[in-house]
Amino acid sequence: MVTLTIDGREVRAEEGKVLLEVARDNRIDIPALCQHDSVAAYGACRLCMVEISRKGREKLVASCLYPAEEGLVVKTDSPRVIHVRRTVTELLLARCPDSEVLQDLARKLGIERPRFSLEEGNHKCILCALCTRACEQVVGASAISLANRGTARQMATPFHAFSEACIACGTCAEICPTRAIDINDVGDTRIIVMPNVTMEFKLKQCSVCGSYWAPERQLEHIIRQAGLPDNAFDKCPDCRD
């Protein structure tokens, strides 16, 4: 355990735990969009920047990546932090003006309109990579990834086409902080709309009650991974004995 100071409060934390978690454990709120407990930290959105001072030197760090250290002094609401947080929000909002989540955040920070010119038609994606990280680390499918660099960077399926590795589980849509991925079940089809591609998947029909209860590809994935017989999922969970 180490002792550090956050906003004038002395707190104790496990060594190596990141500042964002330590702050949240102590009910100090730091906004963050690209952080999620179920995937490794990444530091993409830069909203969680805080000011730290060690040995008389001050600097800004991303609190979702910076580990707690003995004697560290952290400020989460200094003028410099607020300034950076506002600028980051303005930049994100200029990129995704239609995102309700960013609009809410901007309102909280008192931003009426970003000073940067607004981009059009970029489908709410802020490139936080939560979807691609979840696809790789939570599901193990790696069906989507970030492609290109710089301003051309985008979340994409291989060759911008139907992803053969996708099992249609919907984890990417669930984890997306700005709801840039849409998922919808219509009859026997699941439609996943990503910023650059729309994919359709067949749903499996229960042999007893006839309901469409899960995507076929997801069940095939589970059968493959767990070594189950091919007919393991012919019935839905409610019709199984």
């Binding site: 407990d37 179920s38 939570v138 599901v139 589980c169 669930e174």
Partner: protein
């Protein structure tokens, strides 16, 4: 919604606010419901909990399962205590005693503490418009005192105070429609939920605490002991209750009904009833009667949501 049950649960927070080690019975649907509701609520919350199963099992001196501020209240005054907490927080804020931004006040009670004993306090709190969430965990009888019928017990269920026999069909009246009573108070948000549909439950809890004003959430909590059902079927029973139309999932935002699940065809109620010992004595005629009533109520609900 119900088709995303394998990978998405892995995204849920692993932090428990309703800690394990409590004394709930094996297969308890209510403990599961409380745990999921607490997960969705987060840390910034004060809970007033009525007497009932959850209070008994979670707070045996000197232990507690609650990692958030928690007050045990009587059966009848849960909503009144929650009202007081909400007013107290407001007053502290106004007088500058202490500012506690974003603290949510939540009242939790069973079906007895809600639809029977606590109804007048709840009605008062809803009418006064306190900014709080009331969650009713409905296991359809007074389970912790030994399965006595409540007004939330469904028609035909055999309990210790409505035993089925030669002259009795079990409970002789229909289940009280508690969400409709809450809707009649013109509150901003009323919803029904089931822990078997965890994603739906999560989003409803989050919506309910976000609204400004009173919100009411009615959660069906399967009770294997009182319902005489197999403990391993609790989650499936929750799903069957929804799929048969016995406990439809819907939300009412500012008086506007919306069904949470699109069910093209209801399952026969017998699928749900036959798994429960409390309905074991029902004859075909009675099951037909229940089916007729369920169809009628569901059609009414669909009409409201149209």
């Amino acid at each position: 919604m119900d088709k995303q049950t394998v990978y998405i649960p892995r995204l849920a927070s692993t932090k428990e606010r309703f800690a394990p080690g409590h004394r709930a019975c094996i297969g308890c649907g209510e403990a599961l419901a409380v745990r999921l509701v607490c997960k969705a609520l987060g840390d910034n919350v004060i809970i007033a909990n009525a007497t009932g199963c959850m209070e008994i099992v979670s707070s045996q001196l000197p232990y507690t399962s609650w990692t958030v501020p928690w007050i045990h209240t009587l059966f009848e005054n849960t909503a009144a205590v929650a009202s007081g907490m909400e007013s107290g927080l407001k007053a502290m804020n106004r007088k500058g005693v202490k500012s506690l931004p974003g603290v949510k006040v939540v009242a939790m009670a069973g079906d007895g503490g809600t639809s029977d004993i606590g109804l007048q306090a709840l009605s008062g709190a809803l009418e006064r418009g306190h900014n709080f969430l009331y969650v009713c965990f409905d296991n359809e009888a007074y389970m912790n005192t030994g399965i006595q019928r409540s007004s939330s017990t469904p028609y035909g269920a055999s309990t210790t105070t409505s035993p089925a026999g030669k002259v009795s069909v079990g409970k002789f009246s229909w289940k009280k429609n508690m969400p409709a009573i809450a809707v009649a108070h013109n509150v901003p948000y009323v919803a029904t939920a089931s822990p078997s549909y965890f994603k739906d439950l999560f989003s409803k809890v989050k919506k309910a605490v976000a609204v400004n004003g009173p919100a009411y959430l009615h959660v069906l909590s399967v009770c294997p002991v009182g319902w005489r059902s197999a403990p391993e079927l609790s989650v499936r029973m929750g799903r069957l209750a929804v799929q048969t139309g016995m406990f439809p999932l819907y939300e009412v935002e500012n008086g506007k009904y919306k069904l949470s699940m699109d069910l093209p065809k209801l399952r026969p109620v017998a699928d749900y009833l036959k798994l429960q010992g409390r309905f074991r004595h029902l004859t075909q005629d009675m099951i037909q009667e229940i089916q007729r009533r369920v169809n009628e109520e569901y059609a009414k609900l669909k009409e409201k949501a149209a």
